[in-house]
């Protein structure tokens, strides 16, 4: 058993879902995603016992491209994130009726497949293929099942697709260039390359464009809020919960080790960009009228901090970034789900139109509040562990980075609590708000349990990711 098993399960699952018909689709999808989760846990176990679970097969001879999947701690952590979030996301959608559900759930599984592949691929081109493949399902999910004015949605979605594709094509060019130098797309060979500073800079920038758009880092974020708002909530969860992490993961896995000189030389600039995202995102989030848009900008702020952490090139920065990725993945999925729960009852996402929910639904309020608090990195949630580590690493580089980045805990609290106040508190709304159903509650409970458990005991994850991050750091610091 090796890592390709997960991919196969998800791919088969995608097709099985499609052919199982509209009625069964959601359940089949859930089943397969759970199987994939189980499989990834088994693989994790195998990995920790030292078993070799990587795959490498020759695929195309000329140019030399391999079907290489390598599972190290970092990759497995991200795979686990994907495998854990997919069932949650699917399960959370049980309260909605989707027309043509078979295609919908099939696409979700397919997207999960592509994202898992991205996290596992250790051949540059294979990685690129998965990276692009992940784009197609979300495009259709947002386009077909999205909400809001159709024309606006089309514009937003097409912009999103073209924008992200634009970035990634430059990455492809960089990969081809690297291939010319290395004669192989395999990551080990790319790591070994000895590139001049100038080459590294260009390659770094090409990668940066792809990742900055995907993550997104300002000023490349303009697609984000609109797409989050227009996409169906499931799509938004996939995007914000997992897909953004593809960009961040790639920074650590590909960009930094391949072009370390450039990363070191221009470190400050990229950290500043990340931190600027933190501040800018937080400030813009303050005055958003749409709940999903607000969450989108909050996401912008958080990933900005993660990116800044990654670019510090310290073990702490990378480790904090990875932990924060996982934590943010869960919390953002939870928050968007909360928005969806409200939407199911109120049929609106306008913050102004909400309020007074707390009186009617104590359970929902509590869970939402915990998620809000996790999002503002209250200690004892996993987010705090990540954010603390990242901020600490920033302080190692320059104390001002930590101070500026740290404004996230103030501004974040400001906009999140303000949102919470207007959405949940206040006079009882004239509309009735039924408390969470069992299904909804389970999704919330799982997310909250994960966040709190790792908040107090992050060691398993730290232990999992540290060795591979150290390896990457060695590559970065090789000269």
């Amino acid at each position: 058993m090796n890592v390709s098993t997960i991919l196969i399960i998800l791919l088969i699952g995608a097709f099985a879902t499609y052919f199982s018909g509209d009625k069964l689709a959601s359940k089949v999808a859930l089943l397969f995603s759970l199987v994939a989760l189980g499989c990834s846990i088994v693989l994790l176990n195998n990995y920790s016992t030292g078993e070799n679970i990587s795959v490498i097969n020759s695929w195309i001879t000329q140019p030399k491209i391999s079907f290489a999947l390598n599972a190290d701690g970092l990759g497995l952590a991200m795979v686990l994130l994907t495998a854990a979030l997919t069932p949650i996301i699917i399960f959370s959608s049980f309260g909605n009726e989707y027309k043509n559900a078979k295609a919908f759930y099939g696409l979700i599984l397919f997207m999960s497949f592509a994202m898992t592949g991205t996290f596992l691929a250790s051949d540059g081109l294979l990685y690129y293929i998965f990276w692009e493949l992940a784009l197609i399902p979300i495009y259709f999910i947002a386009l077909i099942w999205g909400n809001g004015d159709a024309e606006e949605r089309r514009k937003a979605v097409v912009k999103f697709f073209i924008y992200t594709l634009a970035g990634s094509l430059f990455m492809l060019t960089a990969f081809i260039y690297l291939y010319q130098k290395a004669g192989s797309f395999l990551i080990e060979d790319l790591y070994k390359l000895d590139l001049s500073a100038c080459e590294q800079l260009w390659i770094f920038l090409a990668f940066f464009l792809a990742y900055a758009i995907k993550i997104p880092i300002i000023p490349f974020h303009t697609w984000q809020a609109n797409v989050y708002q227009k996409a169906p909530t499931v799509g938004t969860m996939l995007l914000s919960g997992i897909m953004l992490k593809m960009g961040l993961y790639s920074v650590i896995r590909w960009q930094l080790p391949i072009a370390p000189l450039a990363a070191k030389e221009y470190m400050d600039i990229f950290i500043v960009l990340g931190i600027a995202g933190v501040i800018y995102g937080s400030i813009v989030a303050l005055r958003q009228k749409d709940l999903k848009k607000l969450l989108a900008y909050s996401s912008l702020a958080h990933v900005g901090l993660i990116a800044a952490g990654s670019y510090t090139l310290t073990l702490d920065g990378l480790r904090g970034a990875v932990m924060q990725m996982i934590a943010h993945g869960f919390v953002v999925v939870g928050l968007f789900f909360a928005a969806e729960v409200i939407f199911r009852r109120f049929e609106t996402r306008e913050i102004e139109a909400m309020g007074g929910i707390r009186t009617q639904s104590p359970k929902f309020t509590s869970m939402f509040l915990i998620l809000v608090l996790a999002s503002v990195a209250l200690p004892s949630t996993f987010n705090f562990v990540g954010e603390f580590t990242v901020l600490y690493s920033l302080s190692q580089v320059n104390i001002w980075f930590a101070i500026l980045g740290g404004t996230t805990i103030i501004l974040g609290a400001y906009y999140m609590l303000r949102m919470f106040q207007h959405v949940m508190l206040g006079e009882t709304n004239s509309k009735t708000f039924a408390d969470v159903t069992l299904n909804e509650g389970i999704s919330f409970a799982v997310i909250i349990a994960v966040l709190l458990f790792f908040g107090f005991y992050p060691k398993p994850i730290t232990d999992l990711i540290t060795p591979s991050l150290e390896t990457i750091l060695q590559v970065i610091n090789k000269n």
Binding site: P379, F388, G406, I410, A413, L417, Q421, P458
Partner: protein, 627 residues
């Protein structure tokens, strides 16, 4: 064994919280209240056990549970440190906590969400214990933010009122500003010493040569900013008066006795750091003094009974920081304890009054309650005497020591502190006179229902009044049990150990006289002359400025909040749309070129061939002629 004790200590309130959260509603109000109270009481008992152990062995207990966060040069455990300081704190946190829980059973009995109230209170106690007994700064930080969260929840307990919610939010955010400072301080300390553990830190600093003192001072300053946020010091104090929106027991427990003293706890905990940063100590002293004066002046004219107490709290906290600034940690701690007694008592008393008047908080509508609520009156009177520094009540000793310390270090600050003390006496007795003397000024309806509160309310009041009276005994001048008890904590020889000489007695006399003067003025103004404060719109002149708290909230709003909000609007409306337009612009340009290009494709064969020939000529001449 120690581990188990520590875990019982911490987890019982958490258990109480969980039980109340999940089953509170079905258990009924009384049961859920009882569970909450018992949970805290158990912690109190454990604290007593621990106290006993510590006093007998004289050594702290360290408990390490597991590795928590790993950072390259730091390894942070989730562990507890139970030493003299933390156990002392535990005692009054859990002790007063138990009393207030008891009190709340009755006080909150009419509220439909009583189980939640107890849940939050228990959660608060849990976090407070964590804060106190954490073995390193980061565990402290869990508690630190956790109590902030509970404060947020409890201030906004009546969540239908958006003003209360605003107050809660404000408290949380101002605290967070301080928290950032604390975090930065931690970062610097972590970087410098590769540890956040108190014990290790102390050893490392003690053994260190060539310390980077400026950096350490910066760290201390950042930590102090954290303390400012939590302990409501200038410039981050404005949240505390607003926090009175919460139920009165909350004000008593969180915003008077325990949480707000966390800053003092932290500074005391890290005394070895602050001792090295003398500049920062000066800053602390100055800020403490100014805060105490400013808050006292505002307190002079407030009409809301709880607001008066709130500003009084800020002022007293300022005094404590004054002491901290001079390195007199045990003096500050002493005042923390006595303050906890009398201020909790005052708050609970005011709660009793408010309870009796069905929610009326404006002193202009009170008066003459002495007869209707004798126990409340007497307990509050005792506490007022204590806070005013009338001799032999607990406040007399602690406040006196602070002023004494100040006098030894800085005459101007001593003067400021003394003035604040005189004002304290004045406004406390203003409160007493307006509330309990003369005739009742409220409605007939209220008058009809006036009654003394029940036993569950009065018993805590009585106990606290007793403590407020005799609390001073733990650190009598010249023979201080407290100083000895705390001595192992401090690096330097204790400062508070003064020889009682002429100067000291003179100062003591001056302080007593000052206190009495304040009481006298209040007596003349509000008893003899029968003044009642003016209605809001008639307040003019300096009082208006004071009544409106120097307009600090407005200034903050104009300087910080409004710009951020308008910046947000600006970003949202212009930058975002601009950036978006930029991206769409590229598409638009392409489309425009396409639109123009379509015109070129006229459909005319002649044109097509013409371009063909031109292209042919261009290529041929470029290849063959352009050399």
């Amino acid at each position: 064994m120690d581990t188990n004790l520590a875990l019982i200590l911490v987890l019982t309130p958490l258990l109480g919280f969980l039980v109340n959260v999940f089953f509170g509603k079905s258990l009924g109000k009384t049961v859920s209240g009882a569970i909450g109270t018992v949970a805290v009481a158990i912690s109190f008992v454990v604290s007593l056990l621990l106290f006993n152990q510590i006093t007998s062995t004289g050594k702290g207990i360290e408990v390490t549970l597991f590795d928590w966060i790993q950072i390259s040069n730091l390894k942070i455990n989730l562990g507890f440190l139970l030493d003299q300081l933390s156990v002392l704190w535990l005692l009054f946190v859990t002790g007063i906590g138990s009393l207030i829980h008891l009190y709340s059973i009755s006080y909150m009995h009419d509220d439909e969400n009583m189980h939640k109230f107890f849940a939050y209170l228990n959660l608060f106690v849990f976090f407070m214990i964590t804060l106190v007994i954490g073995s390193n700064l980061l565990v402290l930080f869990i508690g630190w933010e956790g109590v902030g969260l509970c404060s947020y929840l409890l201030i906004g307990f009546w969540h239908k009122n958006q003003d209360y919610n605003d107050a809660a939010k404000k408290a949380f955010i101002m605290n967070r500003i301080g928290d950032l400072g604390l975090l930065i301080g931690m970062f610097i300390i972590g970087t410098m010493f590769s540890t956040l553990d108190y014990a290790t830190l102390k050893t490392v600093i003690a053994g260190a040569t060539n310390l980077n003192l400026p950096l350490l001072s910066l760290a201390a300053l950042c930590l102090f900013i954290g303390a400012c946020g939590k302990s409501a010091q200038i410039p981050l104090y404005t949240w505390l008066p607003d926090a009175m929106a919460g139920p009165t027991p909350v004000s008593a427990l969180i915003h008077a006795a325990t949480m707000v003293t966390a800053g003092i706890f932290m500074v005391t905990r890290l005394n070895f750091v602050f001792d090295l940063a003398t500049d920062v100590q000066t800053v602390i002293a100055v800020i403490g003094a100014i805060t105490s004066l400013v808050a006292a002046t505002i307190g002079l004219v407030q009409n809301d009974i709880k607001k008066v107490l709130a500003y009084s709290t800020v002022s007293q906290l300022g005094l404590m920081f004054l002491a901290l600034g001079f390195g007199a940690y045990e003096v500050a701690v002493f005042h923390v304890i006595t303050h906890a007694f009398f201020k909790a008592c005052l708050f609970l008393g005011s709660g009793s009054v408010i309870h009796g008047l069905h929610g009326e908080q404006d002193m202009r509508n009170m008066g003459g309650l002495r007869k209707a609520m004798p126990i409340t009156f007497w307990t509050m009177l005792i506490s007022s005497l204590a806070i005013s520094g009338v001799p032999f009540f607990s406040g007399f000793f602690s406040k006196d020591e602070i002023l004494l310390t100040a006098f030894h270090h800085s005459i101007p600050l001593y003067v400021v502190g003394s003035v604040a003390s005189i004002m304290t006496a004045f406004y406390m007795f203003r409160l007493m006179f307006l509330t309990f003397f003369k005739e009742f000024r409220g409605t007939e309806e209220q008058k009809h229902h006036l009654h003394e509160s029940g036993a569950l309310i009065t018993i805590p009041l009585i106990i606290l009044a007793i403590l407020a009276t005799f609390g001073g005994l733990i650190s009598l001048p010249g023979n201080s049990w407290l100083n000895e008890y705390l001595a192992p904590l401090f690096a330097k020889a204790t400062e508070g150990e003064h020889h009682l000489g002429t100067t000291e007695y003179t100062l003591m006399g001056v302080a007593v006289l000052g206190g009495l003067l304040g009481i006298l003025i209040a007596y003349i103004k509000y008893f003899k002359q029968d003044n009642v404060p003016e209605a809001d719109e008639n307040i003019t002149g300096l009082s208006k400025v004071l009544y409106n708290k120097y307009y600090v909230d407005e200034v903050y709003d104009a300087v910080f909040v409004a710009p951020v909000n308008s910046l947000s609007k600006f970003f949202r409306d212009y930058i975002e749309t601009g950036l978006s337009a930029l991206v769409f612009g590229l598409g638009k340009i392409a489309n425009e070129i396409a639109f123009q290009g379509k015109k070129l494709q006229t459909g005319s064969i002649g044109l097509y061939l013409f371009v063909f020939v031109l292209g042919l000529c261009a290529i041929v001449s470029y290849i063959f002629l352009a050399q």
